[in-house]
Symmetry: C2
Subunit: 577 residues, 2 copies
């Protein structure tokens, strides 16, 4: 087994391959490429670019991290997943998972041991937070720089293959979170190889990726090859694209369209469905509209609006972007419109925001009560259960599962994990470490936090604190919440009414003042009381399927609904309809 090296370095005079044993010269190809005869597997090397030794931008493995040598890798893994097909998004339950904190070991191998838990929960898609090699031992992974290499602390390339194989063996699909809108600040040498960046656009993380300037064909190809590599080499079933609003491209074919078409183009070759999910701040239906209608053809995008509507209504928080949300009307709007903001003025953004989804299915949106960002970007990384009562958490979860969106959970959400998910880094560069530490403190000073109250992202304890404690699973109330989540997943699986994605068939009634909400989708009705008062409300048709904290006191047409409680009814044959 061997690996051919080929690197794009249009401005380089000379590129050679440096190993412990020898110096290999490369051959210059047209278009600014340099390539070598195949390297045997398992050889550590640097690319010597005009005299400077650098890791390979397409390195498959960086055993010693971002600054160390690249290692050639064999592709001799024996796959047995030829029969596996991911279920469609309309039938999906996505589970966002951070390898470093999912288990104590923080490795892909350790994660495999917890997969049965996900299967029992009803998960269909495991979405792994970024795996590309980033600086230091731990971190969220959004500052990756070796985009083709698995983060060594998580495991070697074959460990990822084993993880995907173990998922597929259990009927679980795997999605990978990829970051194409910027590279991390440490260990990023792409600019030395070619025109990967442009100053024409500024992103929150500095210069933007050059997707439309001179040389951009190869830049786009680099990222598209990366997407295809995860799918072809590691058999993953799709991608989650980070912050696509920071991918500025004014050329006639937007990068996101090209990328999505290329990924979907692999479906015929591989004989299996693939999906592309985008995180976007734009509320722009163009992302998920079909290409024939001018869209990018992306399968689904995250709906932060639905999250914010839930979070603000449950917690009462009004700081930052939550100030745009908070009423039950926002939840109702999200359920019916997909986005809350479809062109209205957003006080937080100080401009009109978003555009109507028209008749696009709700299955083009992901709905969630929590995700890594919404937890981890808080000063102390609190989950929703650390902020509100269990009753309100269950209301939020029930709303996610009866929504017309594709539900997504964040690891540990299903049992109300007591562990936070804080912002942690392990930057080796002392100046960068200090800048991150200070930046974090300054960010939250504006919201009234004392520096000492904000966990130090560079401390190992911050990372360790964020690791799940699986022993909680055995204990009430965690065990009970898990049972509730399992029931919600079962409900969604067994009732096609909950999966049809038509937003206009979602009937929402609410009383903003009394703070109760009734959501009906076909035979299913969710009744939720967000207030601290008891209300007498009309009993929905059908049989009570799920409730918290306890069943209503009577079968009469009017029932007493407990404070911070929820009830799910299903109308069946015996109950008319």
């Amino acid at each position: 087994m061997s690996q051919k090296l080929r690197v794009w370095a249009p401005n380089a005079q000379e590129v050679s391959v440096v190993t412990a044993a020898q110096l290999r010269h490369t051959e210059r190809e047209p278009g600014g490429f340099f390539s070598t005869e195949p390297l045997p597997a398992g050889v550590d090397y640097f690319l010597r670019l005009d005299g400077r030794d650098l890791p390979d931008p397409r390195s498959r493995f960086q055993p010693d991290g971002v600054a160390g040598p690249s290692r050639s890798v064999a592709d001799d893994f024996e796959w047995h997943d030829q029969q596996f097909r991911a279920p469609p998004l309309c039938a999906a339950l996505i589970y966002e998972l951070h390898v470093g904190t999912f288990t104590r070991d923080g490795t892909l191998s350790a994660a495999i041991k917890r997969l049965d838990h996900l299967v029992e929960l009803g998960v269909t898609h495991v979405e792994l937070m970024p795996l590309a090699t980033f600086p230091g031992r731990w971190g969220w992974g959004y500052d990756g720089v070796a985009l083709f290499a698995t983060h060594p602390a998580y495991g070697a390339p074959d460990d990822l293959k084993r993880f995907v194989a173990a998922c597929h063996h259990r009927g679980l699909a795997v999605l990978i979170d990829v970051v194409y809108n910027h590279l991390g600040p440490d260990g990023n040498h792409l600019a030395e190889f070619g025109p990967y960046f442009t100053t024409r656009y500024q992103t929150p993380w500095g210069s933007a990726i050059n997707l439309d300037g001179p040389g951009s064909d190869e830049v786009r190809q680099f990222f598209i090859d990366n997407a295809c590599a995860w799918i072809e080499t590691y058999h993953v079933d799709g991608l989650r694209l980070d912050a696509v609003h920071a991918l500025c491209d004014e050329s006639a074919e937007h990068f996101l369209h090209e990328l999505t078409m290329r990924v979907h183009g692999l479906e015929a070759k591989l004989g299996k469905p693939l999906c592309v999910i985008a995180e976007s701040d734009q509320n722009d239906p163009r992302l998920v509209r079909e290409p024939a209608l001018g869209g990018f053809g992306i399968d689904a995008q995250w709906s932060d609006d639905f999250h914010h509507a839930l979070h603000a209504a449950l917690t009462g928080e009004q700081s930052g972007y939550y100030g745009d949300f908070g009423s039950l009307e926002h939840i109702a709007r999200a359920l019916n419109q997909g986005f809350v903001f479809t062109g209205q003025y957003s006080p937080f953004r100080e401009r009109r925001h978003g555009r109507s989804l028209g008749d696009l299915s709700g299955n083009h949106l992901l709905g969630y009560l929590q995700n890594h960002d919404q937890i981890g970007n808080r000063a102390r990384g609190e989950r929703i259960g650390h902020l509100v009562s269990e009753g309100l958490v269950r209301i939020g979860a029930a709303l996610v599962f009866v929504s017309p969106f594709v539900p997504m959970l964040f690891q540990g959400e299903e049992w109300g994990a007591s562990t936070p998910f804080q912002y942690f880094t392990d930057h080796q560069n002392p100046e960068l470490a200090e800048a991150v530490r200070r930046g974090r403190r300054d960010e939250f000073k504006a919201f009234g936090w004392e520096p000492s109250e904000v966990p130090d992202p560079q401390e190992e304890a911050t990372f360790r604190r964020s690791q799940l404690d699986w022993s909680e699973l055995e204990r009430a109330p965690h065990r009970d919440l898990l049972a509730f989540y399992r029931s919600l997943a079962t409900l969604r699986r067994e009732h096609p009414d909950l999966r049809d994605g038509r937003r206009d068939s979602v009937q929402v009634e609410y009383d903003e003042h009394a703070r109760w909400l009734r959501v009906t989708r076909g035979a299913i009705t969710l009744l939720a009381n967000l207030s601290k008062s008891r209300h007498e409300l009309a009993r929905p048709d059908g049989k009570l399927l799920l409730c918290h904290p306890k069943p209503p006191n009577t079968d009469s047409p009017q029932i007493l609904v407990e404070p911070e409680s929820c009830y799910i009814f299903v109308a069946g044959e015996t109950f008319g309809q």
Copy 2:
């Protein structure tokens, strides 16, 4: 008659209106607006913004230029054009006109006296290069800063009304070139009033307009109001949007879509058709695709590809972007595809470029042999006729008129004006004047021009030299060329085959080596010989309608085609088909 003043200055403490007679205080409205009681017409004023006296950003007239006071204007013009309706673009012949150089006087009033010439030529739409007030007495107008005010050297607001009325009276529609992608560097005070600019995107002219950041609703409204003001106040029939590729907007509803919808929304109110034409560097069909298919709904865009294909083939020039063109195949591709580049690699751009227009009509593109940019951005502002033989000029013109695009001429093109159209400015700021002078020299040094060979843009002679000499009209060969252009316009008017816009019905044959080209559209066939050799070619069906320099020597099936000659045949009833 009076004019209400209202200004957006969200960060200002106090705004007042300063006239010679008094200081008027304004009333603060929600949203950062300040407004006054109406000011009588004809009063000169400044806005005092936190102690600084500035012209009104929405000034209707700047009689003393960009730095002088604003003058309130009466809207009491008596219109008599209620019956006028612009013809649709499929039947249009557009004429690009620069008021300052169209006549010796360089005024709108003087331009009126030449309108009959345009009517006789067959023009349907007069497109005025930018009218908004720019620094100095003369210039192209793309550095305008008082966007709602007519350039004083061209005339007062009522002079523009008289011009439009005179056009409408003669059946001519009027389009105005508007610049929304940047403001000129001198006299631009918008940033003092509000967040009109952003550093998130960089344009060739500096910071981009803030179309999607905080405060952008009002910024967008400013430009949309400007578009509507030309249409409603001055009765113009549409707009030409300058360089829309520099309008960066990542929000869900692109500014260009909103602008176009708002302009088209006026059609019902005004009871007449309006059109929006874009200049774009992107070869992106999205601009002209209908909104239901994800487009912006713009009526048409300029096709620089068609121009470059013609220019490079006729002149043999290969410098700059012409290096991407030059073969007859490019002309054929442009005629059939609309764009030459529909996703292929462009050596000039060093990346793939453009996207297929699909089945969009050719009437969504403007075709031209010359325009102000392609002439004026040459070191010495040469028209095509200064570079190639009259035979080749006629071939180029004939290709424009038999193309499936909407033909456009640049002033004086129709008689092969001997006057150039050079780059001229009249900057009052000495540093800016020197920078423009030096910038121009440096730009062309790269192409081998000595500084002394490049006309000084700041010299009055450069401007004067660029003014049309109407006495040429009486003299051969100008008179003969004019007759030829008139015949082409008549041909297009009388033969619906030439207006149907279906690109796939354009049959193009050519011999790259012998350099002849045959274009057939329905009954019409154009036969063009670009070479310096005589060729024996098959005689097209039908009657010879137009030719240069002389009719073919015979009626036999094979005819001798003269060097640098063109022939237009039309197949009629008597000639079968």
